[in-house]
């Protein structure tokens, strides 16, 4: 083993600076049978970082349900893959880019989108949709954020603007529609925004590609952008440690995205795969060349040998350490069939991209890195990839804050007119229309988008050449997960699946992005474990196995963790795209039904403590500034019944619209179905036994509002009965464009739809332009 001369001698202190603990460093020495040199130390430090190794989460992730009859590829590859019929598969995955997006919002967001797109087309699937689940600190000073300073609010607006421009800039140029996601606000995200990007692609089942190197002597080809010093240690330093005042100095660690090169890379990769000369392919994301070489060798049970002198570089004088750890974007590593590399190189040349043979697949299972022929690193690939540290971190439930009724929301007197509160709720950033944001996204490119953002509960794209369409929704509720991580996680799965079902699609699989604080804190690990149990229970009950995703720990700044925020993306299939259901009411005179997975007795039993549950609602937060109590109780069997009923109603073309009840409750659900029309209104009459505010703004799940033409009413009621779903006639769609809700004989909300729509449509933009 030759070591480079004039190199830093690695010591335990240097290893510690690289984030390797003493036992981890000892393990490195044991694997190598000697001390590592500095390049090797760098390689171990990124591979064994929290971000790449999942060392704190692995023991818990094992509990997730990952298999199902439609799952073609579960966690462990670049993306999860499911069978969607007609010989086609869908590859999809969600990933976080939280830390970079705080340090540099625009570039952080662009590279988040770029990274997840590469994960998809690396599998041989052409990306067809992007969704972004975004969380920021408050952008307005209101009851929900009384203690947030004006400076923080203005900073949050700048972060939001940068992230939105980044997401839009990358997807728009790349040419994939950004068709959905979420935008949420809580004070805990002020110093640590969450940027979770999901991408979906489709491929023929037989055309899938995997990242398994094989065939001794097969050439290893580097393609795409040149390697620079950007993003060195992005994964290990930025994503695997909490933020401090010095984090701004980490700006050079944030990578820079180039959507144009990514677009070329997409077209060139798909064309190269088509030649039949490509054996394996992996993108260079976190930990760049290190991760791609190591993982491809480890998965294939082979070795890989490369020479860094051949790697295209955009800066001079880069050391082997820097080249191996660079996280420059828009790069891929592929293995070609020996003797056919010219076919591959020709394709990349056509697209104007660098493509260079940098090495070959070798026997012996070693990752051997040379620089001008001189060995600079030599590590057994499998132990490096698979035998990293695994921790069973200490867990402890945080001390429960003792709560009593006086901490909870106090319901208004029964007959109080709630119209003004309804207006305020519609104006809150959480509830108000996100159109100002989503209009900055190209939502229509590729001409497949059947449901644009805001038009339905899930984003829906058709698959040309088939009758089918795919529906996608991402959901998560940090506030609920903070109050009860297990229940919060269950709600995230249930709501995402419910949204998909409201569009008429059958939920079939899930992907998850788990955003948490420091795993070194026992209470955070407890939250994580609870959330995993919640996701497991809900995914089992709703038959949506987890096919992949990522874990983002260390989301904390100055010692304060974010709310635990599991975000779930659910994919559903519509057998007949023509049966897609949107949320807009269609005709005056249609009947409004409330579908509930529970019957009256079940509903009564589910809400034994209305004030406690209501204190976790958006209304309680926005109107009273109270965030307390517990998330609504959940009945997964009821969720399943409701979802099956919604899909059956869509298939039978028996409903005109569907919209689930979530943030803001029944009132917001019905109001939004009015807003999406030109001139329709709604008259709702409820005799709910719950207090008025709970009845109208409560957020208990397993419910949806559908509108049906009078001629279909009997059929819908019968179908609901067969599915064990309660269908309550609560009102009708009107032609007078008035929105009204009557509760036990008193009108408690009444306003013109136009006035409410104006508040709902423009509040976000007005807030940002203040």
């Amino acid at each position: 083993m030759a070591t480079a001369s004039a190199e830093i001698k690695v010591t335990a202190e240097i290893a510690a600076e690289h984030g390797l603990s003493a036992p981890e460093y000892a393990r490195v020495q044991q694997i190598l049978g000697r001390d590592p040199n500095i390049t090797e130390l760098g390689i171990f430090s990124v591979m064994w970082s929290e971000h790449c190794s999942y060392k704190s989460s692995k023991v818990h992730l094992k509990r997730l349900p990952v298999s199902g009859k439609l799952v073609v590829q579960g966690p462990g590859e670049n993306a999860g893959v499911v069978d969607i019929g007609d010989g086609l598969v869908a590859a999809f995955k969600i990933e976080s880019h939280n830390h970079p997006s705080f340090v540099e919002p625009f570039q952080g967001a662009t590279t988040g989108v770029g990274g997840i797109l590469r994960d998809i087309f690396t599998m041989g699937a052409r990306p067809i949709a992007i969704l972004d689940s975004l969380r920021f600190g408050p952008i307005t000073a209101d009851a929900s954020a009384p203690s947030v300073s004006a400076e923080t609010i203005s900073k949050n607006r700048r972060i939001l603007d940068g992230v939105i421009r980044g997401v839009a800039g990358y997807g728009n140029s790349f040419g994939v529609p950004t068709i959905g996601g979420e935008v949420c606000f809580e004070p805990c995200y002020s110093q640590n925004p969450l940027v979770n990007a999901l991408a979906l692609g489709i491929a023929k089942k037989e055309d899938l590609f995997f990242a398994k190197a094989r065939g001794t002597g097969n050439p290893v080809i580097y393609v795409g952008a040149k390697t620079g010093r950007d993003g060195i240690h992005g994964a290990s330093l930025l994503a695997s440690a909490e933020f401090t005042e010095e984090s701004k100095q980490k700006r050079p660690n944030v990578q820079v995205g180039d959507p144009f090169v990514e677009k070329l890379l997409l077209e060139a990769c798909l064309e190269a795969m088509n030649t039949g000369a490509v054996v394996a392919i992996q993108d260079m994301g976190a930990a760049g060349l290190t991760c791609s070489t190591t993982e491809m060798a480890s998965r294939g049970g082979t070795g890989i040998e490369i020479d860094l002198a051949r790697v295209p570089q955009r800066e001079t004088g880069m050391t082997p350490y820097e080249i191996m750890l660079s996280e420059s974007q828009e790069r891929m590593l592929l293995v070609a069939e020996k003797g056919r590399q010219q076919e591959v190189l020709k394709v990349f040349n056509k697209w104007g991209l660098d493509a260079v043979v940098v090495g070959e697949v070798a026997d012996g299972g070693l990752l051997r890195v040379k620089d001008h022929g001189r060995i600079v690193a030599e590590i057994p690939a499998h132990p490096l990839a698979e035998e990293g540290p695994v921790y069973q971190r200490p867990m402890a439930a945080p001390a429960r804050r003792s709560e009593s009724a006086k901490d909870w929301f106090t319901f208004s007197p029964e007959k109080k007119n709630l119209t003004e509160n309804c207006r305020r709720l519609l104006a809150s950033p959480a509830i108000s229309s996100k159109r100002w944001i989503t209009e900055q996204y190209d939502t229509m490119v590729r001409t497949n988008t059947l449901v644009v953002p805001g038009a339905g509960d899930a984003a829906v794209v058709r698959i040309k050449g088939t009758k089918r369409a795919l529906a996608l929704s991402t959901d998560g509720n940090g506030r609920w997960s903070q109050l009860n991580p297990r229940l919060g996680a269950m709600h995230a799965v249930a709501e995402a699946a419910r949204n998909v079902a409201c569009s008429g699609a059958k939920p079939i699989a899930a992907t998850n992005c788990l955003n948490f604080g420091s795993p070194e804190k026992p209470d955070v690990m407890w939250q994580f474990s609870e959330a995993i149990d919640g996701i497991t229970a809900a995914s089992n009950a709703l038959e949506t196995p987890i096919t992949g995703g990522n874990v983002s720990f260390y989301n904390e700044t100055l010692g304060r963790s974010i709310f635990p925020t599991p975000v779930i993306g659910i994919l559903g299939v519509l057998e007949d795209a023509a049966r897609v259901v949107k949320l807009a009411f269609r005709n005056a005179g249609d009947i409004i039904l409330l579908l509930d997975g529970l019957d009256a007795a079940g509903a009564g039993a589910a809400t034994t403590k209305p004030a406690c549950e209501f204190s976790s609602s958006e209304y309680s937060k926005s109107i009273a500034g109270i965030v307390a109590g517990q998330p609504p109780a959940i009945d997964l069997a009821a969720e399943k019944r409701l979802q099956q009923c919604l899909v059956a109603l869509a298939v039978a073309a028996q409903i005109q619209s569907a919209h689930d009840i979530s943030d803001g409750g029944l009132a917001v659900t019905v109001a939004e179905s009015c807003f999406a029309t030109v001139d329709l209104g709604a008259q709702v009459i409820t005799d709910d036994v719950a207090p008025a505010e709970s009845a109208v703004f409560g957020e208990r799940g397993a419910r949806a509002v559908v509108s049906v033409s009078p001629s279909s009413l009997a059929a819908v009621q019968e179908s609901a009965r067969q599915h064990g779903v309660t269908a309550t006639h609560i009102g009708q769609v009107t032609g007078n464009a008035i929105f009204s809700i009557q509760y036990h004989g008193s009108v408690i909300i009444e306003e013109s739809v136009a006035a409410l729509r104006d508040i709902w449509s423009h509040s976000l933009e007005r807030a940002l332009k203040q």
Binding site: N172, S173, F260, K263, L264, Q440, M444, K464
Partner: protein, 236 residues
Amino acid sequence: MKFGVVVFPGSNCDHDAFYATSDVLHQPVEFIWHQSENLANCDAVILPGGFAHGDYLRTGAIARFSPVMKSVEKFAKSGGLVLGICNGFQILLEAGLLPGAVMRNVGLRYICRHVHIRVENTATSFTQAAKPGQILKIPIAHNDGNYTCDPATLADLKKNQQIVFRYTTPDGKDDAAGNPNGSMENIAGICNRDRNVAGLMPHPERAVESVLDSADGLVIFRSMVEALVTSAKATA
């Protein structure tokens, strides 16, 4: 009769233009790579939307130097039909095949949504199937669509009826409220003096089926097909 869709590196509406002409209009169509020296005997050429060469410089500024543009220019000069959509329109402006330029949208943001445009001139090969004054609901998706030109050029455009499409309100009013990007005189699309080269910022290829929320863009492609059929008959 054959359509050609030019593919620049960074074009991203090339597949959509191809699909609209082949699968919806059932016309023969072929992709033409930007380095191609000829137009593969196409009878009409579409420059599609996207971000040709990344558009990190002025939109279309690099694409106009792609080898294929020499052939497009020659084709246009000889009377061939050329339609530039969004980025394709920007490229035609940079190439000098259409007069004027586009600037950043007035709000300095990318906008993607349905807008309404009015057909101002039906005596072109791109609008002959439309009714005079017909209002079309078609999406836009751009950052730089704010059309401008000098007063003399504007006077020329008007005199020769080269303003083909104007943004309007849904009910056809000339009002700033209908103009998404601040373009001069609400201009959404223009043609050259000979009426065989046209460009517009909205995306007609995204409005060719009612499931996509509008099929109003079809009239533009149908006009082109009609014009080609007529000219084929004339030469036959």
